[in-house]
Structures are given as structure tokens and as C-alpha cells.
Amino acid sequence: MADKNAILAGLAEIVEEETGLETEEVKLEKSFTEDLDIDSISMMTIVVNAEEKFDVKIPDEEVKNLATVGDAVNYIANAQG
């Protein structure tokens, strides 16, 4: 089973690179849009970078279901098996 802490840490680095937010700000319960002020275009950049980093596919239609950082971590963990 994928290590969710490692996924969170990797995702936080991607978010930091795209938005400049400190990695500590990127917590499981945080909403991408409400709490982290990430818009749809930045979200897509984060998704593509996450696909590359974690070697998973996140289809366009799934992206809108990833409301929180935790949603994204769970999706990536499941996709990695």
C-alpha cells in the first residue's frame, strides 16, 4: 500500500512550486479552492505534475472530485495500488 505521508509530502512540494505556499500549509483537510486559493488552471498544473511524480493517471473528469488535499492523496494512493 502506498505511503500516504510520502504522497502528502510530495504533493505539498508540487503545490509550493506552483503557488509559492509553504509546504506546511498543505494539509489533508485543506480545500484547494477555499483554503489554498488554487484556481482551476493551477489545479490542472498540480495534477499533471502529480501524475508525473507519482506515476499515476488522473483523468480530467476526476479532477473536479478532488476538493481537498486529502481527496488527492487518497486518489493517488488508490491509483498506485
Binding site: S40, I41, M44, T45, V47, V48, D60, V63, K64
Partner: protein
């Protein structure tokens, strides 16, 4: 009856070795729409629009200025820049999705008004990739010997097909025309064109309805005497553009980066050989991210006309290149990588020598 099979040899055109773009022209309509005006129609702010799109203003044509009017202005400048007469044109290709007649074409009217009759004249529908499709076709027509000079125009009056109150695409869009003349050359000035499509994503950027829905509503109102549907703004009977921004963004950056690299490879050049990169002006963030993915050397100038012009679909690449050359005349003679992408989804790219 016996079929005649003549053995007489058929004459074919005599090919020309090389082609290049020999002139550029632009038309920017007078009406400037800033973000404050946009915010009368959608709940947004100047700051939000600038941050999300890089757009500060867009030009829009008045009601009495047509697609062909705009194309004419850009074409006359391109012919003058090329130093040729309209009568020397063997072809006039207009890329547009906003000429309001399904037939006849904008191109035949333009050719007539320019004084280019009887040049071959036709429109192409490849949305934001249409100008690069046109350059690819003009290159093929001239190189095959079918025409000596071909005019390519990208022109749009997108203000006719937007709904100012929707948020997916309308506020990005502007009107305008850009034109180029392709002709024979001693040295190669147009690389192989990389053209393609992905109809699986046909609806990612598209009109929200076809004109048949409007026709049927009119017919129903005329036969029933009940015009309430025609008067209901919620019916949105006039078709307007919509897009799925996230899907388009992913495709426009990461898939188009692959196409841009493929085009550069086909041209035989390296990134350091480029003088300019002129992508379709869809959104400043697409331009920035695409440039980042391509890891272009610092000396490569990037077309960023979108800040003032908005997204003008087929017109955006020639407008951006025209502006880049006006502001930096020293780039003339250098190589520009140009790539268009949009509704279809379709894409087209090539490297050209800047006239």
C-alpha cells in the same frame, strides 16, 4: 460503348523548390473593451482577470465592420509589405469561424474586393489552428507550382458569437485580422507543417448549440403564433462559444508542447536557432506554461499580444507576430516557431522565417 483510354501524356504543375512568408499585415478594430467593462457582465474584477488570464484589454469590431472588412485591411498591408500586387495572387485562403454566411466564402468576397480575381479562394474552419493550417496549405500550393503567391488570412469577429454573461470563454475573446503572403524563395522559409486533430474532444471548445435549434424555434413560433420561447433569454437560441477550461488547458500545454517539439524536430533546427516563439494567444498562462515546458533559450522572444488583444482565435498568431516584428524590427530574417490549437480539437504548427 467503349471507354476511351488515351495514352497522351498529362501535364502536371512544375514544382518550386522553396517558399517563404514575404509579407505580414494586421487589422485591430477600434473599440477597446477593458476589464472594468467586462465586469459589468460577469461578477469579477480587473485584478482577477489579469491574474487568471493576463488580459488587460481586447479589441472588438463595431456592428457595421464585417469579417471581410477586417480581412481587407490586414491583407492590403500584407501585400504592400510583400511588395506584390493583388493580381499576382494565385490563391486567397481565409481561416475564420465567424464569417456569418455558410456560403459563399469570405475568401471569394475578399479576393474580389482586393482586386485578386480570379485567384482560387476558399475558407477553412480550423478555429485557433486555422492560420497555421493556411500557411501549410499556402506552402503546398506554391511549392507544387499550383500558385505563385498565396494570401493567408486569419480573421475573427468573435464578438458575434459570445454571451457576455457566461464565464468560460467570452471575456477572453476579441476581434481582429492578421494576414501573410507566401511566395517562392531561393532558400527554405517554411518548415514541414505539423497538422492534426483529436475529435474525441470535439466538445471541449464548441458552440453551445447549432443554428438548427434557432431555426426550429422560429418555425414553431411562426406556426403556433406563440413567440414566448424566442423572447426567453434562458433559451439562448443564438449559438455562442463555451469551453471546458481545465481540459483545454491540459491539452494546450502538455500535448501542444509535444507538437511544438515535433515541429522543431521536423524543421531540422534546435531551440537555440529560434528567434521567436509565437503560440496561439489563448491565455497568458498557457503561453507561459508552454514556454516553460519547451525550455526555450532566453534570447527567444515570445509573442504576448494577448494582454492587449485578447484571444482572437485564427487571427492571434499573425497579429502577435506582426506586433513582435513592429516592436523588434531586428527579428526580421530570424526563425519563428508558431503553433495554433483550438476547437476541434485541432492543432497546426510550423517554423517560418520572419519576413
Amino acid at each position: 460503348m467503349t471507354a476511351v483510354h488515351s495514352a497522351a501524356p498529362l501535364t502536371q504543375t512544375v514544382p518550386t523548390e522553396a517558399t517563404t512568408v514575404i509579407g505580414l499585415g494586421a487589422h485591430r478594430p477600434d473599440v477597446v473593451v477593458d476589464n472594468e467593462q467586462i465586469c459589468q457582465w460577469i461578477d469579477s474584477s480587473d485584478e482577477w482577470i489579469r491574474k487568471r488570464t493576463g488580459i488587460v484589454t481586447r479589441h472588438r469590431a463595431p456592428a457595421d465592420v464585417s469579417v471581410v472588412d477586417m480581412a481587407l485591411g490586414a491583407s492590403q498591408e500584407a501585400l504592400s509589405d510583400a511588395g506584390i500586387e493583388p493580381a499576382q495572387l494565385g490563391g486567397v485562403i481565409v481561416s475564420t469561424v465567424t464569417h456569418p454566411y455558410q456560403t459563399p466564402s469570405a475568401a471569394s468576397d475578399l479576393a474580389h474586393r482586393l482586386g485578386a480575381t480570379p485567384a482560387a479562394a476558399y475558407d477553412i474552419s480550423a478555429a485557433c489552428a486555422g492560420y497555421c493550417y493556411g500557411i501549410g496549405q499556402a506552402d503546398a500550393l506554391v511549392r507544387s507550382g499550383a500558385a505563385e503567391y498565396v494570401l493567408v488570412v486569419g480573421v475573427e469577429k468573435l464578438s458575434d458569437v459570445i454571451d457576455n454573461h457566461e464565464r468560460s470563454i467570452s471575456f477572453l475573446l476579441g476581434d481582429g485580422a492578421g494576414a501573410a503572403v507566401v511566395g517562392p524563395s531561393d532558400t527554405a522559409g517554411i518548415s514541414p507543417s505539423v497538422l492534426g486533430s483529436n475529435g474525441e474532444q470535439w466538445s471541449a471548445v464548441s458552440m453551445d448549440n447549432s443554428l438548427l435549434r434557432l431555426r426550429d424555434a422560429l418555425f414553431d413560433a411562426q406556426t403556433s403564433g406563440d413567440a414566448s420561447r424566442l423572447l426567453d433569454p434562458e433559451e439562448r437560441l443564438w449559438p455562442t462559444l463555451r469551453q471546458d477550461g481545465q481540459t483545454v488547458f491540459r491539452w494546450a500545454v502538455w500535448e501542444m508542447a509535444k507538437v511544438a517539439k515535433q515541429t522543431l524536430e521536423a524543421s531540422g533546427l534546435q531551440p537555440e536557432d529560434l528567434t521567436a516563439f509565437v503560440p496561439h494567444q489563448a491565455n497568458m498562462r498557457i503561453i507561459d506554461e508552454l514556454a516553460k515546458q519547451l525550455k526555450l533559450p532566453e534570447h527567444v522572444l515570445i509573442g504576448r499580444d494577448i494582454a492587449d488583444a485578447g484571444n482572437t482565435s485564427a487571427a492571434s498568431i499573425p497579429l502577435a507576430l506582426h506586433r513582435l516584428r513592429s516592436e523588434n524590427p531586428e527579428i526580421s530574417g530570424g526563425y519563428a516557431l508558431q503553433i495554433g490549437f483550438g476547437a476541434g480539437l485541432v492543432y497546426g504548427a510550423q517554423v517560418i522565417r520572419i519576413p
